[in-house]
Structures are given as structure tokens and as C-alpha cells.
Amino acid sequence: MASEKAEIDALKKECDGLRTQIEAARKAVNDGSMTGASGGVASVGRVQLKLRKTLKGHLAKIYAMHWATDSKQMVSASQDGKLLVWDTHTGNKLVAVPLKSAWVMSVAFAPSGNLVASGGLDNICTVYNIKAASPKTLRELDAHTGYLSCCRFLSDSEILTASGDTTCCLWDLETGKQKVVFTNHIGDCMSLALSPDMNTFISGACDSLAKLWDVRDGTCKQTFSGHTSDINAIAFFHSGNAIITGSDDCACKMYDLRSDQEVINYQDTSLNAGVTSLALSSSGRLIFAGYDDFNCHIWDSLKGEKVGVLSGHDNRVSCTGVPEDGLGVCTGSWDSFLKLWN
């Protein structure tokens, strides 16, 4: 129909106009570079952390790990079909949760420490009570039509999930139902992170975009572009004003939320491996990024320079995490081991 074609053309024109407007607005505030501004900041020097513990127990690739808020317990997930809850101070295993589906991709610890959640190629996010005499399935959150790539608890009654079906979702754990569905990505969602104030969250996807969402009303507030491949990892800077992303394009980037643009690119020509995971030290100065090259490289977040490396895994580093007290870094790998460094 001619009228429909005319309407589509008008809408396309409006889209192009708005995109140009956004780029111009970003350029207008781009009055200096982050690395330039950090010229006067003292260098952190070479960061040399030591391997303190290797946690052995999983029998297959580790895909995910998450620290408990007590900075002592940590949960890991492996495609051997188990979740293991560790006491990282002693190295002891506290709880083993057998999974219905071994194809796990994500795991999360609730802030209370009472619950853990996991999910993967089964498309389901399963929540377990680990304080019961033996781990008890509390809820099976089943509505995604694609794999579960990431999950994060807001509390014992709410959890956020990211899925290969390109959506993220906020669930009510009391009813087991979806409260809000976040749709806007055009590629599999791979990772999510909650803001320090818990009012917003960010997602990274295979459409190479990162998006900022309002947790309560479901709106996508901002979109960040620049990566040229899947974003696998995403984290909030602790001030809540910036985000860090890690991608298959071998780079990490920092985007400032208030300037609405990329402010630093963390890339090295000698690093030709995709970024799988990332975590920040407690001041935000150090970025620990896990790569496909079996290492976790350490970046100076302000100066954009590589300042160290955690070497020791015999396969891809698939997950990285720093506990709330900032006293160490945990790396998990396809080599089936978790390592603690500080």
C-alpha cells in the first residue's frame, strides 16, 4: 500500500533524525578525554597479586560464580551439574546443590545468604533454599523462551534474569510470576548488573549494546554502543555513575551514565582474546577482566593501562568476582578450578 510505504519512510526519516540528534548531543558534551584528565593521577604501578587458594571440587567446566554479601561464602556453578557453596576462608565446601539440568550458565547468591539461584540452557531460573537441612527447590521461574545467561537477586522476594530470548525479567519470588519484562535488545542478553541503589540495572547483549533500565517501570533509559561484538560481561562502577563492559571484540569499555557515552576503551593489540567476565576492586580503580586466553588481566580504570595479570588457569577464565569487603579476587575457569588471589 502506498500510504503504508509513505508512513514507513516517514518513520525511518524520524529515526535517522533522532539518531543524528543523539550523536550530536553526545559530541557537544565531549569536551575532554578520561585518559587525558587522568594524566595527573599517580600510577598504581605493577599490580602483583598472589594465588592464595585453589578450590578443587568441580568435575567439569565452571561457568559462573557469585560472592555472598558476607564476603566469605561464594557459590560456583559447573556443567558437572552441581552448585557448590564454599567457605573461602577455610576452602571447605559447605553445600552441594544437584541441578536438574547440568547445562548451567549463571548462578547468584541472595543478599540474605538464604537463597541461591541458577539457570542455563533449560531456560529456567531455579531458586534454592540452602539454609534447609538439604537444599530445597523454592521456585522454578519458567517463562523465558531462551537460555538463562544471568540472574541477580534484589532480595529474597525479587530476582532479575537475562535471557537468550533477548529479554530481561523481574520476577516475584512469592508468586513465581513475572512482574516486569524488559524488551528492547535485538540480540541474546548475556549479562546484567544491578545499580548500587537498586533502582536501575544494566544489561549487555549480543547486539553489542549495553542498556540501562528502570527496574520498576521497565523502560530502557539509555543505550550505549561502541562494541563490535557480543557484550559478555557488565558491571556498575561503585559510584553508580559509570558502567564497565567486556566483549568478544577483545575490549572492555567504560561508559559514563551522565555523559551518555563511552569514556575509555581498554584494549591492547597483544590481547586477541574475548572478554568473558569482569569485576572491580572496591575503589573502582582496578578492573579484573577474565579472557579466553586463560588469564585474568588487570586494568587501571582511570588511565586505561594494563597493570597486571592473574595467570594460573589451564583454560578460559569464565567468571570473576570481587567480594564486598574488597579483600580479594576470585576467578573461575573451564579448567574446573576456582582461584582466590590478593
Binding site: E7, M34, A37, S239, N241, Q261, S282, S283, L327
Partner: protein
């Protein structure tokens, strides 16, 4: 995709772009200064930057003492 569903999809894209275009953006120099300040203010409390003594290190294997 039919023309009418394309229109619906495009209208959503336009709506989203309008929302994002309406943002008030802060100058990068200001944003950079604030990020720097945050890092520097918290640097002394960042154990991975400052290091820690072995007695304060929760991951360091504890030395075993025995009474003789």
C-alpha cells in the same frame, strides 16, 4: 514482515529514540573528574591497591601452632 507490523515496530523504535534523545548530558570533563575523585577518595580503603598484612589476609593459609 507485513507493512503494518513494520510500522508498529518502527513506532516503538521512534518512541525509544525520543526518550533517549531527551536526556540531559553532563560534560565528559565533569564526569571524568567525578570518577577520578571517587577512586582517589576510596583508594586507601581498597585492599587490592594498598595490600594487607598476612594476619589480616583471610585467604592466607593460617600457620598452625602447637603447644609443646
Amino acid at each position: 514482515m507485513s507493512a503494518s507490523s513494520s510500522i508498529v515496530t518502527m513506532k516503538k523504535v521512534v518512541q525509544q529514540l525520543r526518550l533517549e534523545a531527551g536526556l540531559n548530558r553532563v560534560k565528559v570533563s565533569q564526569a571524568a573528574a567525578d570518577l577520578q575523585q571517587f577512586c582517589l577518595q576510596n583508594a586507601q580503603q581498597d585492599p587490592l591497591l594498598t595490600g594487607m598484612s598476612s594476619s589480616n589476609n583471610p585467604f592466607r593459609p593460617k600457620a598452625v601452632c602447637s603447644f609443646l
